[in-house]
């Protein structure tokens, strides 16, 4: 997984399946581990929001 973060494009590639969240009440964050094998299609008009949190 580490190589994926070598470029922002890699980050984008990882996040694609979050596109289907439109009607959820709270923010639906994607778990990075579930994003493997996604296609890049459908990203071109979207803004990626990356929430960096700390658990300790």
């Amino acid at each position: 997984m580490r190589r994926i973060f070598s470029s922002m494009a890699g980050v984008l590639f990882l996040t694609l399946l979050a596109c289907t969240t439109a009607e959820k009440k709270a923010v639906n964050f994607e778990d990075i581990s579930s994003a493997e094998g996604l296609e890049k299609a459908g990203l071109q008009n979207d803004i990626l929001m990356v929430y960096l949190y700390s658990d300790g």
């Binding site: 709270a26 803004i47 929430y51 960096l52």
Partner: protein, 286 residues
């Protein structure tokens, strides 16, 4: 938590692809370093081509303001690029220069931020916009962080009377010396800090805790005095009662330590470490 808010959630889900990353685990540290993320939580917004649109550092509890900022970013308003465009049209707009500097500061690009901060004194020699203090502070931070030059920050701390500037200035210096593991300089800085900020409970507690953590036995008595004063100022701060209890126990004052730790536990009954400490202290009396 703002992301649990229904209106905020709906807006974000309709407008963004959202990703949540622990900045301390997995790929988080690499991402944090790459984008110079200085605080958690931070939220970064990227366009489809991977360019950063803007970011929000921290969350101050203002839900409406947070939503407003996110809505602005969606529309390309109040972003760094937006401000730079304004500045191109009016290069002497002091408020806009300050906003651009703050944007670069948020991005961890202190060098570019300071280039903007440094424009302000000559454009506003009489400080009519009121940025002088902040500009001086940010330049001092830059000298400290990027050039290991402590002089501007020390000069600022000597001349400043504003408690907010003093608090964050001393904390910057303390972090700098702590990172260098220069215990003597940390102690010296704490001495100056508590002399200038005698009623700053967090600063007093910080010094007392440092004494305890680093087992500086020659200063236990002073640490206890500092912590006792801190709990007078902030009697509901369980963490300060904890500091007091730990120092008292380390100093051999077991019954007093139990009393202080009991206070901490009463204030935060769900904190297991307080109960563990109480048990440990009580056993030592047997």
């Amino acid at each position: 938590m703002v992301f649990q808010d229904e209106e905020v959630g709906k807006y974000i889900n309709q407008n963004f692809i959202s990703l949540k990353i622990n900045s301390r685990a997995g790929e988080g540290p690499a991402l944090r370093e790459k984008y110079k993320v200085s605080a958690s939580p931070s939220v970064l917004f990227f366009s489809f081509d991977g360019m950063e649109i803007d970011r929000i550092v921290g969350f101050g509890g203002d839900r409406d303001g947070y939503l407003h900022t996110i809505q602005d970013y969606t529309r390309g308003r109040n972003t760094l690029q937006d401000y730079l465009t304004h500045l191109k049209n009016d290069p002497d707009d002091i408020d806009m220069i300050m906003k651009v500097a703050e944007k670069y500061n948020d991005r961890g690009d202190l060098q570019t931020a300071v280039a903007y901060y440094k424009q302000i004194p000559s454009l506003d020699p009489d400080d009519e916009n009121g940025y002088r203090s902040e500009v001086q502070f940010q330049i001092a931070v830059y000298e400290l962080v990027d050039h290991a030059n402590v002089l501007p920050m020390n000069n600022l701390l000597k001349s400043s009377a504003e408690s907010e500037n003093l608090n964050r200035g001393f904390n910057r210096l303390l972090r700098y010396y702590s990172n260098q593991q220069d215990t003597l300089k940390v102690l010296e800085t704490y001495e100056k800090a508590v002399a200038k900020l005698p009623d700053d409970a967090d600063m007093l507690n910080g010094y007392a805790w440092y004494i305890f953590q680093h087992k500086i036995q020659s200063k236990y008595a002073q640490g206890i005095v500092l912590a006792r004063h801190a709990v007078k100022i902030a009697p509901k701060a369980d963490a300060i009662w904890d500091t007091l209890g730990q120092l008292l126990f380390a100093d051999g004052q077991v019954q007093e330590a139990i009393d202080a730790m009991q206070k901490a536990s009463d204030l935060a009954p769900d904190e297991p470490s307080y109960k563990e400490n109480l048990e440990k202290y009580s056993k030592s009396l047997l």
